[in-house]
């Protein structure tokens, strides 16, 4: 079976500072993975390289067997950044339409409506998301990431800025995506979330220091810098 996400000697450094040591990783289809580590441990670097947004210094990442950033990989991958970006001249609804249509979703309206309702953004659908608060921007980004089909969902710090309702809705949405077979890789500092996943990856100073079931890990120790 093809791995949903695989890396081979994937590495990144910024001059004399290594951000990610060469990493070999395989995440099978349908797996639900949490990625933890202290600030600067390399979580975002790994996710951005997997998404094709960051050029690796060495090695490569593949999504569903395709080199990350390739047309086929982009078709399968949805990326939720920790710093959502929006067009400053489009309403939230127009954003959703755009993303839906870019991914060839003919019936995007129904899905968009449902997401906005669940994320309590229905009343803001005609507003410009660049004017939203941090939490609302995060919710809008979640809606944009989920309005389109995907096989692999990469999420970076999704809980930052969310209120409790938002967190609950996001957890439900992630569970639903996992139920229909999507592969999830979620970088987070929310240690409570770790208990919901089947596999835990921990990075420290750019190196993978743990890869296994969360039950076997002392998560509080793993997220400490060396």
């Amino acid at each position: 079976m093809t791995a949903a996400l695989s890396t081979h000697q994937l590495a990144k450094d910024y001059g004399d500072r290594p951000a990610l040591e060469p990493l070999d990783l395989e995440v099978p289809e349908g797996q639900h993975v949490a990625l933890v580590g202290h600030n600067g441990s390399g979580k975002t670097t790994l996710l951005r390289m997997a998404a094709g947004l960051l050029d690796p210094t060495g090695g490569e990442a593949r999504i569903m067997g395709h080199v990350s950033g390739s047309l086929e990989a982009r078709r399968s991958l949805s990326w939720l950044s920790d710093t959502p970006t929006f067009y400053d001249d489009l309403s939230l609804w127009e954003h959703l339409e755009y993303v839906g249509r870019l991914h060839g979703v003919a019936e995007w309206q129904g899905k968009a409506d449902e997401l906005l309702e669940r994320l309590q953004l229905g009343v803001r659908r005609d507003d410009i998301p660049t004017t939203f608060s941090r939490g609302l921007r995060q919710k809008a980004a979640i809606a944009m990431g989920m309005v389109r089909p995907f096989d692999v969902l990469l999420v970076d710090e999704p809980f930052v800025g969310l209120d409790s309702n938002g967190k609950t809705t996001l957890l439900e949405l992630l569970d639903e995506a996992a139920q229909v077979g999507a592969t999830l890789l979620v970088a987070t500092h929310e240690l409570a979330f770790v208990g919901r996943v089947g596999r835990l990856l921990a990075l420290r100073d750019g190196a993978l220091v743990f890869d296994g079931p969360p039950s076997e890990a002392d998560v509080h120790t793993l997220v400490l810098p060396s």
Binding site: L53, L71, T85, D89, L90, L102, G104, P149
Partner: protein
């Protein structure tokens, strides 16, 4: 999960771009746009007219004309060589295309053909560069045509062709370097090789790689069909870059997107300091992790001046090599221009002032950092002016070696004549320091005014806003110009047969006075403003008291 076809996504992209264009047009403030065009036309037209009036109308002598014909292609080719170097280096650093941050995430990560998605931004980049190059080239061409054989229209055309080709070389080289993922060292080496080879063509008459490009500028006088080979090469380079568009690095596009948005905003606000700062960030120019050398530890208390002096050097010693090279090149350029003033090209001292202003923005980094963290400075139990003025000392000392570079460049421009060396050395440090004070004025003007309400600007009538914006841009350059024009004194002394060294000393004293005035302005600015504000408040209180008693 469904597998959409790429054409569906591309239709969405095209549709959205069309709709966003309509949105933008709908939101455009036409009055504001017209006002900007008016300002640009007023100042741009004024500048062109002034330069035109500074250039004589009399045709050049046959000997000079022959000289232009013989050396013009190589000299103008050097400009193209610099454009090529800027292009390949810019491409290796992620240029020249910039996308909106949202486009990087939503369009570039969508399953659509990236080449098609990037085609329009790339064409827009090429189009705007070529248009600007053609306009600038055309204006300069018609000015040159007033003294050289050939019609003004033909010179305008050839200048425009040269400028357009130069701009296309820049964009094409950048696209090729980026899409081929050229390493930075290779891009720098390639660009430098082109410049050095072309410089050899200027200096020693060897065939330069950009001679044909330079020759295009002389088509107003004579047309050589084989010069079109240069255009063909440029078009090929652009075509290769466009064909490889899908190889543009998303990493670079993402990095540049936010910076370019800020850069555009800064340009809109005529904020030159921010423009230069963002250009540095675009070029990924960062402070060195380790300084060139560490200052010896300071024993005991060093006082305010000593503390700020040390902080200044801590920053200056982390300037990356490219920045130091750029500063040396600016200083050399200033020297060359001052030499040209002495040789008779009077308007060149304006160019020196502009370069000095830029040099000031470069070297006054510690002051810039303090201004950008104004809250931090305000939290200190120190008068802000005292702190800011002391930030001028270390950068001023750091400018001395660059002044030597400028002096040598001026001396060489004057034919390395022994009589020119002493005046050049006498004027170099004061002129460089003085010209850099324009940068200081620009930086310090960004400090929040402690005596005025933040809303004051909001209620300013549009006419006043335009006026203050113009002053904001022009005033620092005027300050720089006050010191660079002192070079006219030794020139006048030379023409009158008086002591050139004596005139240079007088000029140096004049420049140093400007430096001293700016230093005091930085030191006392806040205090003076507070006094004026208090005086105004007293006047208002007195007036209202008079009214109420009446």
């Amino acid at each position: 999960m469904s597998e959409p076809g790429t054409s569906i996504g591309f239709d969405a992209l095209r549709d959205l771009r069309r709709r966003r264009k309509l949105h933008r047009l709908g939101n455009l403030d036409w009055f504001e746009a017209a006002y900007r065009v008016y300002l640009f036309g007023f100042f741009g037209g004024g500048a062109v007219l002034w330069i035109s009036s500074s250039i004589k109308d009399t045709p050049v002598s046959d000997a000079v004309a022959a000289d232009v014909l013989a050396h013009g292609p190589a000299v103008l080719g050097l400009l193209v060589a610099f454009a090529f170097m800027a292009g390949v280096r810019g491409g290796a650093q992620g240029g020249p295309v910039a996308l909106e941050a949202a486009d990087v995430v939503y369009v570039m990560l969508a399953p659509i053909d990236r080449r098609r998605a990037l085609w329009k931004p790339a064409v827009q980049r090429l189009r705007s560069a070529v248009f600007s190059g053609a306009m600038a080239g055309g204006i300069i061409g018609q000015l040159a045509g007033r003294r050289l054989p050939g019609s003004t229209v033909a010179w305008f055309g050839s200048g425009a062709l040269f400028g357009a080709n130069l701009a296309a070389v820049w964009v094409g080289a950048a696209l090729v370097a980026h899409t081929l993922r050229m390493p930075r060292w290779l891009a720098t080496a390639l660009g430098l090789a082109g410049v050095l080879w072309q410089a050899a063509a200027v200096g020693w008459g060897v065939v330069g790689p950009f001679n044909l490009d330079g020759s295009l500028a002389l088509w107003g006088w004579r047309v050589r069909g084989y010069d079109l080979l240069a255009v063909a090469f440029t078009l090929t380079m652009v075509a290769v870059g466009m064909a490889l568009l899908r190889r543009l690095s998303l990493d670079a596009l993402a990095r540049r997107s936010a910076l370019v948005a800020q850069l555009r905003f800064a340009v809109t606000m005529q904020d030159l300091r921010t423009v230069i700062l963002l250009r540095r960030q675009l070029n990924q120019e960062r402070a060195r992790h380790r300084p060139y050398f560490r200052l010896p530890a300071a024993g005991g208390s060093v006082g305010l001046t000593g503390s700020v002096w040390r902080r200044g050097w801590h920053g200056l010693l982390r300037f990356p090599v490219p920045r130091l090279v750029r500063m040396a090149a600016i200083a050399a350029g200033m020297g060359v221009l001052q030499g040209m003033v002495v040789r008779g090209t009077t308007p060149a001292f304006l160019g020196t002032a502009i370069l000095g202003f830029v040099l000031g923005l470069e070297v006054m980094e510690p002051l810039s950092q303090e201004v950008d963290q104004a809250d931090r400075a305000d939290a200190l139990p120190i008068e802000r002016g005292d702190l800011m003025s002391r930030h001028l000392l270390a950068p001023a000392a750091a400018l001395v070696p660059f002044a030597v570079v400028a002096a040598v460049a001026a001396w060489l421009t004057l034919g390395a004549h022994s009589d020119a060396l002493v005046p050049a050395l006498v004027l170099a440090v004061p002129t460089l320091l003085g010209a850099a004070t324009g940068g200081v004025v620009s930086i310090v003007k960004d400090l929040p005014d402690p005596s005025s309400a933040p809303t004051q600007q909001t209620f300013m009538p549009p006419e006043m806003v335009g006026f203050t914006t113009a002053i904001r841009i022009v005033w620092p350059i005027v300050v720089s110009t006050l010191t660079t024009c002192t070079v006219l004194l030794p020139r006048a002394a030379y023409e009158a047969g008086d002591s050139v060294v004596g005139a240079a000393i007088r000029g140096a004293i004049g420049s140093l006075l400007v430096v001293l005035l700016v230093f005091q302005w930085v030191r006392l600015r806040d205090r003076l403003r507070r006094k004026i504000s208090a005086f105004m408040d007293e006047g208002r209180a007195y007036t209202s008291q008079q009214r109420s008693s009446a």
